[in-house]
Symmetry: C2
Subunit: 706 residues, 2 copies
């Protein structure tokens, strides 16, 4: 119970959930917006409820509730239900956001992706007909959350595949430490804790406390020529140095163009110093918690970027930022990161205050959004970011759950669509340090390509789309538990043999699984080189959905959703677009450099395909070029490893900047050659089969054998 | 009327003056400290009154007032009275501070200086007998505020000479501008406002907004290699650069080891840019308001440093800071400065927001106190300051009434007792730039000496004491209106001929007047070489006060106080100590350098003697060495001029730092030679007359003539 914000004399148990203030029944019933809530300017239509406040034992009087222009939406079953009241016309997606319930919404609520499926278990919603739902789904009560308006009280269930699961990230903990062993020998944090014992002053040595401190730092090999000190530190210095008889510990951050004394404490007991390497992917975020003294990874955690509620790709995120404010997107990323940090700290038995160094690695849009920097010109020609390199920030200024004075290095990136995550990846691959001509590709939600070696580098981005991460594919999903990651199809029986992540019952298919599947469908003659199904062939696995041919990868009785996992002709088309975008990126970039694949000595693939990538099959469908197989290397998530390296080494931080300065960015959006190459690549493997001699050989061999 | 803080149901008009809360009569009368005031932990003995609240028309009921452990102290006459209630035992000095009434208190309330005289006009105070008051004064009701405890209601008047007056500073406004003309040709502010017109981005020129901005700055000759940018600036940058089609104005501050973009605004209309040069003297503070484009002085203002309420010299200020907190002293200096700044801005028709550059020049203690940096170790052996040089601060961080982002340069100083004001003075004299061997002396509240030239410099401080600024001298005062600044005495009649500042009736005597007077008293045979009065001589001008001989400089009927202005044997002694301290400083420092006066090619005198200094007479009493007269130059306040130079010129700011680095500090407190030299200098002019041949010559010539 509390006092009404408009009528302080009245006790009430109704609360405005948005502004957390009490309101009496008169205010609730009144149509005068001035009486809704004292924050009325921003709250003319907000609903009131006492349910969520958890304050009252007795239910709200029916009379009062009925007069509200609001309906109750309940998500989930009784045991774990979450309820929210919304006004008429609110979409179920918006209601879910208000209730803090996460639903995948790749297209940010445009009704285009069909991911935000809900099952209505009681009540009704006003939902238009949509081709994104099958008749069977509609019959079972499926609706799209973004297209369904609330018209009365309603209870919905979230189907398995619209929920999010915890990502599995390869190479966590001890395994990761072993993998990264030797990358950094002597840790060089940005923020150092330097214990000093100063000589007490005498008449013969009467320099100021600050000069004495600097003398001590110089002896400890700290560069004092460009040393800044804040007024706060100076104000306390005289007392601090004398508190434990000239024994002190100094926190010094090393910046690009100057160092700064951030704090001075009495005594020589430097606490444990921890660091965080963070890979901010558009889809998922990975955190490594690192012991800064030894370089060991104490804990790792990963999870979905909560910004996903605002769209699957960077374009949709920027649109959302323009509509709802950059701050909202920043908060969503921060909440994700801070939760992962808390999880890692918890499992390592450490506290956030011990974290004094942080490296953030993400694409240019992710960096802008996290730092709350206006991103809107990144998506408008001529595609200009605010910044591609960043000063060392303080964690407290950004809102990271670390020591507020922790030094934060944001990986620089050369362009709007080639960001810090790519530079981090290069740090790991060493492309810029070695002489072999290397082609680097990172396939995440976007595809970024780098070509070069220690002497020169060119880079470009191609809109591969989110297909390889599950976006735009009916049963596409990320490489989580239950994702089909390997597929073979018996050409005789057309029966598939599948392997799933974690050996769980199949829930969908991830990037590596799709590449396998495409190659196998082609190899088994189920689809042709243009991606069309051979529908004349009759087989239980070959079916049709809404008149569209499809292959059944797993029947309903094998899946936890009790639904067929199918791969449609549209899915094939989407994947052909994606692989075509990547392959034409290779050829266009090589052409810009006056080179061809024969000159490429090494091909490094990183990204979100999954834990394994079948190079042979990726070549077979024309995603990767037909080069000698030994030249290929698949490295998984290289961005987090590069972040880890920069966290521990000043040399790598400087290298990151040097990579940006030495890289030439080629803009494909204005490159007519790229469109030509793209069109030629929309075949399996390619319209020009001369580029894939091993595929031709193999097909010929098999044709002869048959 | 208001509600009692302890009993909200009760209306009352009594108020706790310390915490500005209402209290009812019960709380006032109750002896339980918990009921005094809700902030009782810090307020067990605070008094209550409704007088000052200015709320009520009717007087407080007698009953309520009588139960208070408090008495009313009224300062001044009815027209301008200020009243305060204090508890029994409070000193009148403390009561004055509480009432916001300023009284000079050179010794910070120790009962040593005798400056804080008050005249009791009604009521009584508990005051012990003191030799600092004459019988005549005691008869007239004079008491020392710091020694008098309040025992009942009392009304006091502040005599003329315990009040402060506005200082006159030589060389204000146009006069100063003319004097300073040519010192700086091309202004180089620390904070520059740079208007830029950037090339709009294209696909072929798609660098980030920040890189585009840096390119523009580089074209404008700004060093961008060590350029910092804050997150706030980055967050707004994309919108700002586009608001007026890539026309912007950038605020860049140039620091010692890096530059920083502080702000970016749309458009090219740079507003007027102003600067402040501030001389923070222990006694008085001077402010110049400068047009940063042309270097002209738009206005000047000066006033007494309000810290004077906490003692006349730096030692007493530090004692006060230790007792009452550094913050209090900082606030007092800030209030003084900010009031002077407001005055200067007002007369120039400018606003504080236009002030973007500031230079502060003061001794080491003044700098520490203003910046709220702990000064307590400056006064304890081995005399260690927290810092002798300072980074460029922001005005907002310090609390200066300028644009919050204005760059503040604090003049560096080489040691605890040789500070930034001396370095500023050297900037003006050019000692460090030129080849002639120069002896520089600044006599303010302390005496600082520098010996050297462009190749080397030595410096030392001698405790000259505040005598030359009026401290410790019965009728001593600063060079304000009514101060006797020139004196001659007819050797035949012993009648004086005096000149006062502003031609006003004499109120006291300032430094230059005292030097004249000492020389004339000696020359007329009124005192001997050891400073004793020839009391056998009978003359109306030669009198005695409390059995101490004295010379009457002005009779009561000539003075506005209707009292004799006298100069006692104690005053003579004090002045001999002061001049001895300075002279022995010269000889000790020369000795340390292995030099003597004959090698000194130039002697520069600066400080607070007054507007004029009679070199001949200063030599005659042994304050200055007996060198060729053409080698002497008296420069007045050189600290403010040096501050002005550093405000406009980066070269001078760098020179200031170089001066500190090249200066060797000699500590006299541990130098046995200094004590010997001091003892020898306690004669007029000196025990060793060989050092003053011209004085001997003159006396011989006159002896022959007689």
């Amino acid at each position: 119970m509390g006092t009404c914000t408009n009528h302080p004399e009245r006790e009430t148990s109704y609360i405005c959930m948005k502004h957390n203030v009490y309101l009496c029944e008169e205010c609730l019933q009144c149509r005068d917006p001035k009486l809704y809530c004292k924050f009325r300017e921003s709250c003319p239509i907000w609903f009131m409820s006492r349910k969520k406040a958890g304050l009252d034992a007795e239910p709200a009087s029916e009379a009062a509730v009925e007069t509200l222009p609001a309906h109750t939406v309940t998500f989930g079953s009784d045991g774990q239900a979450q309820t929210v009241s919304v006004s008429t016309g609110t979409t179920l997606l918006e209601a879910a956001r208000q209730a803090g319930v996460h639903i995948n919404a790749s297209c940010n609520g445009k009704g285009a992706c069909g991911k935000c499926k809900l099952i209505v278990t009681s009540g009704e919603a006003d939902a238009p007909d949509t081709p994104l739902l099958t008749e069977a789904e509609k019959h079972k009560g499926y609706v799209l959350a973004c297209q369904s308006n609330v018209t009365g009280d309603i209870r919905v269930r979230i189907p398995e595949d619209a929920r999010q699961r915890k990502l599995k990230v390869a190479g966590m903990g001890q395994e990761a430490t072993n993998r990264l062993k030797g990358l950094v020998t002597e840790p060089e944090p940005m923020l150092r804790e330097i214990p000093l014992i100063l000589d007490p002053p005498t008449l013969a040595d009467a320099v100021s406390d600050l000069d004495r401190l600097k003398r001590g730092l110089k002896k400890a090999n700290c560069d004092i020529d460009r040393l800044n000190v804040s007024l706060d530190v100076m104000r306390q210095l005289a007392a601090t140095v004398r508190e434990e008889s000239w024994k002190i510990t100094v926190s010094v951050v090393q910046r690009k163009c100057s160092n700064e004394i951030l704090a001075v404490r009495p005594g020589n007991n430097a606490p444990r110093s921890l660091g965080l390497a963070v890979d901010i992917g558009t889809t998922s975020i990975v955190v490594y918690l690192v012991d800064m003294a030894k370089g060991t990874i104490l804990a790792a955690a990963s999870g979905h970027n909560r910004q996903a509620a605002c769209g699957d790709d960077v374009i949709n995120r920027m649109v959302c930022a323009e509509k709802s404010g950059v701050k909202k997107l920043s908060r969503l990323a921060l909440v994700t990161i801070n939760n992962l940090v808390a999880e890692a700290l918890d499992s390592a038995g450490a506290s956030g205050d011990q974290v004094k160094n942080v490296v953030l690695s993400g694409n240019t849009t992710m960096a802008h959004l996290l730092l709350e920097i206006e991103p809107r010109y990144i998506r408008r020609e001529p595609y200009i970011p605010t910044a591609t390199e960043f000063p060392i920030f303080k964690a407290g200024d950004i809102g990271l759950a670390a020591n507020p004075m922790a030094a934060v290095f944001v990986m620089p990136g050369p362009a709007s669509y080639v960001g810090g995550d790519i530079v981090a990846g290069l740090l790991y691959t060493g492309l810029h340090r070695e002489s072999p001509l290397t082609l680097f590709i990172d396939v995440g939600t976007n595809g970024e390509i780098v070509l070069g070696n220690q002497d020169w580098m060119m880079t470009a981005a191609c809109s591969a789309g989110p297909a390889f991460e599950g976006g735009g594919i009916r049963w596409g999903m990320r490489a989580e538990d239950g994702a089909i990651e390997k597929v073979t199809i018996d050409p005789a029986t057309l029966e598939p043999d599948i392997t799933t992540v974690g050996g769980q019952p199949p829930r969908g298919i991830c990037g590596s699984g799709m590449i396998d599947l495409m190659a196998e469908l082609l190899d088994a003659g189920i689809i042709d080189r243009s991606g069309h199904f051979h529908t004349e062939r009759e087989h239980p696995r070959i079916t049709a959905i809404n008149d569209e041919p499809a292959y059944v990868l797993a029947f309903a009785d094998q899946t936890p959703m009790a639904e067929d996992i199918i791969f449609t002709e549209s899915d094939v088309k989407n994947l052909i677009y994606s692989k075509g975008a990547v392959y034409s990126g290779f050829t266009t970039l090589l052409n810009e450099a006056g080179l061809d694949f024969s000159m490429v000595e090494r091909m490094v693939i990183t990204g979100g395909f999954g834990q394994y990538l079948n190079i042979e099959k990726a070549i077979y469908i024309g995603l990767l070029p037909d080069m000698e197989r030994s030249r290929f290397a698949y490295l998984g998530n290289s961005s987090i490893v590069g972040a880890y390296m920069a966290l521990l080494s000043d040399r790598y931080r400087k290298e990151a900047q040097a990579i940006c300065n030495n890289m030439t960015y080629i803009d494909f959006s204005s490159n007519p050659r790229y469109m030509d190459e793209f069109t030629s690549a929309l075949f399996l493997p390619h319209t020009n089969l001369d580029m894939f001699p091993s595929v031709v050989d193999r097909d010929n061999t098999r044709a002869v054998a048959n």
